[in-house]
Symmetry: C2
Subunit: 486 residues, 2 copies
Amino acid sequence: MPPDDTVDDDAVDDHTSHDLPFLEDALPADAITTSDDVRDAHATDWGTDDGTAPDAVVWPETTEEVSAVLAGATEHGIPVTPYAAGTSLEGNPVPAHGGISMDLTRMDSVLEVRPEDHQLDVEPGVMGPAIEEAAGEHGLFFPPLPSSGDISTIGGMIANSASGMQTVKYGEIADWVLELEAVLADGSVITAGSRAVKTSSGYNLRDLLIGSEGTLAVVTSATLELAGRPEQIRGGRALFPTLDDATAAVTDAVQSGVDVAKIELIDAESARMANAYTGADLPDEPMVFVEFHADHGIEEEIAFCESIFEAHGVERFEIADDDRMDDLWRARKDLAFAVRSYDPDLEPLHPGDVTVPISEYGPLIQYAKERAAEEDLLVPCFGHAGDGNVHYSVLVDPDDPDEVERGEALYSEIVQRAIDVGGTATGEHGIALGKREFLVAEHGEVTVEAMRAIKRALDPTDTLNPGKIFPETAEGERVRADVPEE
Amino acid sequence: MPPDDTVDDDAVDDHTSHDLPFLEDALPADAITTSDDVRDAHATDWGTDDGTAPDAVVWPETTEEVSAVLAGATEHGIPVTPYAAGTSLEGNPVPAHGGISMDLTRMDSVLEVRPEDHQLDVEPGVMGPAIEEAAGEHGLFFPPLPSSGDISTIGGMIANSASGMQTVKYGEIADWVLELEAVLADGSVITAGSRAVKTSSGYNLRDLLIGSEGTLAVVTSATLELAGRPEQIRGGRALFPTLDDATAAVTDAVQSGVDVAKIELIDAESARMANAYTGADLPDEPMVFVEFHADHGIEEEIAFCESIFEAHGVERFEIADDDRMDDLWRARKDLAFAVRSYDPDLEPLHPGDVTVPISEYGPLIQYAKERAAEEDLLVPCFGHAGDGNVHYSVLVDPDDPDEVERGEALYSEIVQRAIDVGGTATGEHGIALGKREFLVAEHGEVTVEAMRAIKRALDPTDTLNPGKIFPETAEGERVRADVPEE
């Protein structure tokens, strides 16, 4: 991320020769820095601005360098926290215990495209546009990119088990990763998965590493699966008189099997914020954005969707031309920014997501809105409605401690409600720091202890991203093999 | 599986009271047997007839009983090998070290259907037809059932990470499992996954357990996802002048993105065997069976497929009426039996599967056939062609030691070839006993050691299905936490 000229050679020499001497054996000098501005930049992500800075930041460029850093760090008991684009929300790449920030953005090569197998090999720092460009040259695309895909890395998407607007039709990032090369904490290099589209050979380490948020291994390359581009793509939007009508329409569409490629809810608050941020000129009403992909028969599918929306009182159902639709999707993609910049006196608490079974989607949003009204707080809701995925923020005046406290409580209530109705504390952003308190609530202590056992087995010295995912314990936050089990 | 009257109470009392006393505390008397015929029946699967018998067979009916048996077995150092329908091929449920066979076929209830969420909760002993019946009442179906789904259990499908004819369109069993309840070796009960359609909350224990072949946990219930039935279903078959033409046509169809729900290769040898077994009256030629699912536009998709097949010299492309198609699919489903009963003087060695990237599919079959001709052995090939999945058998005269040896060598050569071209030793049947020698060849020792570390972490006493998946070690076959790492 930082250009080479941010590297402060003196600081590197002074600091690393004292505290982190193995780094100089593992990496060239221009791949190590201890300068304050760079360290501070690696103490934040989109949802976290109060993290602790690492002691040093390194930029490995090869698997061998990743391995050498990890082996040395494990030997010397230094934490290593992988970092990439910093677009995560829960503090996933923000060090909890200092140590080394391993920035993977220089490992940004598309290694190989095998169009005959619809496969692409990439390094972890490759971003969405490079994937789409390499795939697009062969008439292919990578369907599960998240909304932030333009500016986030595949390594981060894999680490956090990301998904996106097209997950409703095509599945998650995890569904499009075939094979991973990854380095364990002791520096050993493993290969997880297969280039075959299916395998039942040995334990599924691939899907264990996906979503482990850099706590089990550092991914150094990934084989992705690609899809052929659909012949027909049409997008549009539907306006509803009430939010309940909009969520009921989405739910009915999913239950009826409408073949949508995207189906996104935007509530009236979010629409207002999008208008303020981008001048999107959205009506001040609950709306649903849709997109359809097909090789034939797209008009029938659109008509099917419209008929269901009509049963829920849709006011307008418009299929837009491409330019207009690009604007609408841009407004949707920018909602995270729009919420943040809406009112200079208000700040969103922990932007995040929860996901529930589709039958609980409408009731959850209704609950969030009712509680927001009771607390007199602004809680914009949007997200990947077809997956039962709600993105929400609670906006508070940061100078009003009482409001902050009520906001925090309401934020937590909504997460707990999602868990209570059979959903998950996070559909696509991970637990990291921000949601550790919900891990046991969602999975139970026995299941969490099984997760801890796996952490201890693969990273017994707790080198990789310590302090993440697992709630604090009486013995301290780090999950070490030498700490007695609770 | 055995009726209650097979239980030999005297034997139970005599034997278990001596060697396995904890069983009587864990289970009612009619859920335990040590009778020879039942033990012997639990020493086989479809691909294994020389296994070792368990010391006792138990039939738990609740999670609590599964937990009590496992806790007692771990305490007493007794192996427990889960068993269900016995339709696996690689010895997955066949004890390698005696102990207890835990037969889960009495846990066969459909617990709940939630059609509004397209979800179904089942116990592990539920078989395909019960799933289809419960789903069908709501216009839904379970797409990934394997060919043996009529007579195999969902627990076995999950244990072996199974897939089937419709995986080419809909994905594998793993893709349709949302949440699992499972019991670890020490008797503790965990919940893996979520009823939300996506989650990034904590480690993905669900996909770690799927395909772990009963070595990490015993699944006691599963939440499955269901799909709406397609409006249009059409099936047919295509005959090709040569096997190369048939595999090239399949490969081209996949690469071109033809939306097939099934696309199965049957070579001329397999066709002859099907005719002999079922009187299927198939032509003595390489052929491809196809099925299309759509909500609209199915005729266009069929025409698209036909145009691709024509480019590869298809001789006949026939879309059949439903009754005729049922006969054809029955012939395909029965191929495993047909191969086995084809010639009383010949026996198939290890029926199994390998899977390769689609561009390697034709070359792999070509290689198998060329080597078969060189060795003068019959090697019928069939399978889920669109996934690059090859089922093959090497037929040998069991009384001819030289032929058996050449057959074994050829069988192994084909597995190794699949690995060499980027594929997997097994796409859908697991490693178990039959393919342990290929685990390191496919994944490398470092990766296999990471798998062993997970086994030791979750099952430190190696209670669950010991001797499976991992190759034999100098210290003996069992992977125990107290055995030094290699």
